[in-house]
Symmetry: D2
Subunit: 413 residues, 4 copies
């Protein structure tokens, strides 16, 4: 296998060399690229119609860290974890810190949850959280977000991700303008309690779990809310949160231009928030998105903070760990393709309105087989050339089932 890899790597190195591109330089950039793994994606997900767990799921924050450590050992690209509160409330902080250090992991962000009622909670979110008509319910939701910041601080996180399920199912149910203003006011209260070196990410979603209106349905609303909230409030783009046929890469470019692109939730989607493996459905779109990210990063004129890259998916069909390995692989592959785009020539073609040439430059990068570069990046960061093959060869799932049981069920969707 290594011989075969070397054969392919040599070829692509030579190929890129002929275009004055240094393969090793690109590999280094791939090595540096890290994607956060969400704690809730380590167990088998489900739909409202059912769930088919596969066993060996992590039963605690410690076991979740263990699983991410395992992924990071295999691909060297998953060095951080997104926590979800209240599913992941840390208990023994020093022990967790020790475990994170050992696995070379960090906590990147904390996600609040006001879309489900917790047992002990006095007020229900059935009719909303940050937009609720009742002051007490809003306060409870605000406090939950502030608590999340507190948990995050304990483990070194610097990002609070706010996804609001708030919305309505029927015309008339909510007063649009007032619901918006209550949401904006609640976010301002949370922002006030946030340390100045933290970032608040405001996610948008057009529908689900509500099917008439969502209070933050589109990037325009997230953007307006980030303007109203403060300079450390940013927009989070989730690939599955758009109406049919949305040009997402242009939204990415817009937000970069405005300096308000805070983060990314990667997943695959054909219809709605399908939460499938990243890249499984529209790999060309994923490449075009990375093309904007790379272009923005290279442009001095762009004044956007560092973007937080996270996976957010629900693994209903596949082994969650295999699914995550596939997702990271697709992300890195798309990133690598974006890195070899001949931007100088592209700029010329654009300025001359040579449409065919401009398109062919992107197409050339997309059609080039960069997988040997990604594999080499795995290898150089101490992972496996083929992480899924290694995962299977090591019989990791079987071991996890043995240790944790066939019926262990992780928190998540």
């Amino acid at each position: 296998m290594l011989a075969n890899h070397q054969f392919q790597l040599n070829y692509v190195t030579d190929l890129l060399g002929r275009r004055q591109l240094d393969a090793q330089d690109i590999i280094r950039q791939i090595v540096d690229f890290q994607v956060a793994i969400p704690s809730w994606a380590l167990g088998t997900g489900g739909t409202r119609f059912g769930r088919y767990p596969s066993g060996g799921e992590p039963r605690s924050l410690e076991e979740k860290i263990e699983d991410v450590g395992l992924l990071h050992r295999l691909n060297g690209s998953s060095n951080s974890i997104s926590l979800h509160i209240p599913w992941d409330i840390p208990q023994d902080i020093p022990a967790l810190e020790q475990q994170l250090r050992e696995q070379k992991l960090v906590i990147d962000s904390v996600n609040s949850n006001t879309f489900q009622d917790q047992k002990e909670q006095p007020y229900s979110y059935k009719f909303g959280s940050l937009l609720h008509t009742e002051e007490a319910t809003r306060q409870q939701a605000i406090q939950h977000n502030i608590d999340c910041i507190g948990y995050g601080k304990q483990l070194g996180a610097k990002v609070l991700t706010v996804w609001l399920a708030d919305g309505s199912n029927f015309p008339g149910q909510q007063h649009f303008r007032q619901a918006y203003q209550r949401t904006a006011d609640s976010l301002a209260s949370i922002y006030e309690a946030m340390p100045s070196d933290w970032t608040m990410l405001i996610e948008y979603k057009p529908y689900e779990p509500h099917f008439y209106s969502m209070v933050i349905p589109d990037w325009g609303t997230s953007y307006a809310l980030s303007q109203a909230t403060g300079k450390n409030a940013q927009v989070l783009v989730d690939l599955g949160h758009h109406l049919p046929n949305t040009n997402i890469e242009q939204i990415v470019a817009r937000l970069l231009h405005f300096g308000r692109l805070g983060g990314f939730h990667f997943n695959g989607s054909s219809y709605g928030d399908d939460d499938l493996t990243t890249g499984s459905s529209k790999p060309f779109q994923l490449f075009l998105i990375f093309n904007e990210l790379v272009d923005g990063k290279l442009d001095q004129a762009v004044n956007n903070p560092a973007v937080a890259y996270m996976i957010d998916a629900s693994h209903n069909t596949k082994d969650p760990l295999e699914d995550l390995l596939q997702s990271v692989n697709s992300i890195l592959t798309s990133y690598a393709k974006a890195l070899i785009v001949d931007r100088a020539t592209l700029r010329d073609a654009q300025l001359n309105n040579d449409v065919v040439k401009a398109e062919e430059i992107l197409r050339d990068a997309f059609l080039t087989d960069v997988r040997p570069l990604v594999m080499e990046a795995y290898r150089q960061s101490g992972g496996a050339l083929d992480p899924i093959a290694a995962y299977r060869a090591e019989r990791i799932r079987e071991q996890l089932i043995q240790r944790r049981g066939k019926l262990s069920v992780s928190t998540g969707l």
Copy 2:
């Protein structure tokens, strides 16, 4: 309230009389129109993100019959129940028959469930049921459908509804042609075991719970399968099971023309299978659908069996019983509007391509306020003029909670 009703009824009777329409005749047709209530819609539904139960939910088949009886008492339009197996396996048949007779209810259909694994079941449906690659799994699913027919026969049902969640989440996962053929073969086996006076309804759905392919994604596939299966196999149209912008009323017309429209699942939908209150989102579309149903019924040339009308919704936000009362009201209102369409003039306008006139005829029927006719139909069938008001005045939900408890949870989605 009655005086106000009489005032409005008199007016609409007069108004219709001026168009040579007999209000009483229309009221009679509304009285005759019955919509089946699905047993699974009597409890609070949920999304994959959470569930907010409201209490007092029916805990047994008997209590579900009780709830439908209650609805039928209030609106006189819900005289039948759709069972869902295994959630509603009947135990004491004579007692159930007695209860049904007392409540003036019948069982219209039985719905099989091969989209969830049941505890005792040897083979999993994770990778499909009627299309499964393994013979044993297919046989288990076939037998479950045959069992459903058996349960239905015990209570006088004549319809088996087959909704298949079978599909795939990823390209390559299933072989399209073989998956289709296995499905067709399985349906044939079930059909063979079905009494000759039963109807098999084959439902289609483009996505969810699978997000790459569904084995029966569209009416064309349902139609082809019904042709292959036999003359008592029919297509079932669920209003929420279409891609964005689908012209559903034309599909209804097509199936009537082919003699293959077997049944209807009513619900409201803005995005996908939202399962909201019928008529809450697109009342004009609902009217246009009824316009086709009425037109087909009046046309001697149409050779289509009686259509089974059923609600299929998930009540996440509202009291399920109030939601069902609203849904039936919207259905009857749309039906009443379709009944007053001036078809002779419409036909003339169509033949003369007088587009404005043809459209205005439909618009006139749609804009006419026919609610007094529906209220009068309620009254004449022994129900309440305003069923929701009556439901609230009688404090029925409070009583149900008292009897069944705040935490009772019904089976369903």
Copy 3:
């Protein structure tokens, strides 16, 4: 007919009176509501596949004014005209002013056209106008917009509507961030040349005539551009310019809340920018939009300038004048329904999260037959009870054909 009208009007007056609503007051508001007619919608439109003209189309600005005057005489609700430059460059200003006065019409707005090349024009818009890579082409497009303002000033207009067809058909064709910035800079140049009592309306559209990206695809981009341009720059909402399933009424509420809703283009749409008769496809949505407009107008807290109401459609199938009469009728009917919403009770229901009640209040208003109010408004403003019937009875189209010829073709799409 008048007797029949009086019978229906009496009923609805009585009906509303029972709800403490003054029918005459509502009629007065309907009378006051005026919708601008676009000059380009007076001729038969077409698709890229063909055009089927019906004859008698206006051949000059004078004849267009004549046609709008004719509509206004019939319905009393179309007192203004939207001009399109270069199709409607005014020549004899005093004569036009005289004609407008006689017909009781005003010019409300001027629409620029940089989506087509004009014969004499030195630079082509094939690759864009305000976003073009070439300074000279941008300047030409900027100057055209400034010229439009000049023409508008001559006839008393106060609004410049900018719809940009600028976009791209292929990935790579345009640099998203630079294309956006060039557009913003060009708009700023036009704005600078605009009198301070004018409003610039910035329209958005997700696709067509370009099918990969549009430089202003959504309300978020229009909003950001209006912020960057100045306080008299506003967003224009065209009902057909949204991706499938967009909740447009919520966008309307957002923009009102931000004080940036400048105008409306009414039309009907099932799939994309179908440009059909307003209200022909989704009358409930149209009502919900008016519900927001009325609610915003009644709310002291809303600080939004007066909204410009315009029709923007393409009449391919019907007689354009009949189509416009239908559209205005649908608009007024929706407006009337919005005026009878019981807002106090609705507010209570919303604050109490009584979802069923809130929905039923809107549903009640929507289902009420308010057509007699609209007819009475026509009558009181000197129009015909049934404008289309009057148009047909007067044989207006036949007269226009006789005067202007069977083959006269108006400018437009």
Copy 4:
């Protein structure tokens, strides 16, 4: 360039050899694959908003044949032409035959046009053609189709493609069931006049140019019509003719399974019938479609006639000939990727429900850079390694402009 090609070809030959695949065998299959060029795509297209011609467009059938000959010389993959009547009525048959022979071209199909009125034609298609309410109009449209067959016979075509623009813009305009039946009857009349070795392709399209209903909106309707018409009636799939998010590859598999897939119209689409360069928008989908086509061809159980492959696009932005060269290149690239799918292993993974493995097999084929195989196929069939580069180097457009003029405008959309 040739050296560089040889370097890449050697590599991919070696790479495939390691998987027991014979590169030369795949190249041969690519060489054999031919795509028909539509006569109407040789000129600059347009949208309803405008057209930007580029000059040198073919002014006659002879010049269109010349242009396709030119393409075929460059890529060796475009050996046939789809005619459009009345735009391409052949005059001097022997001369045309001679020209076709010289250019090594054939006429593959004839497309009828009943979506536009021709000058001399007595009845208008404004309200439909094959579905028209008037017998005389239907007869005219039927006769036009029969005439098309006649023209096609003169030049050796064997396929009649029927695309019907018939539909309606407004509810009520057409009677759905009768409109369908009139269409079916008209098709039967045409079929009767068709030689027994001809194929009739029945195209479907959900909307445009009508925006409420199309008489053949989906594959289900095309399929039902093909069943009713006869065994030589087949379904034609146009990639741009689907509602958002349709899984087209599954439709392809269905039709192959039913033995009713007659032909393909290739183009690129992001929103609707965008008619862009094939492969420019969703290359993965194009690959998955070819995956079904290849799989069906290899399967003895599939009993489907040969599929007719045609491009159908409108070139608004690019030089039409460059656009066609790109389209054919994307088609061949997708085909080549489908040819290297490891079907035996895929079948195993599918039977074992090893979802990750099944998906990775497809992904591996998709991510492999097969362009050297396509280039070699060009070379072996006597074309250019890089047809677009050759086209530009030879300054072909400039020559065409010189010969035909800057303002020559071809027939088409």
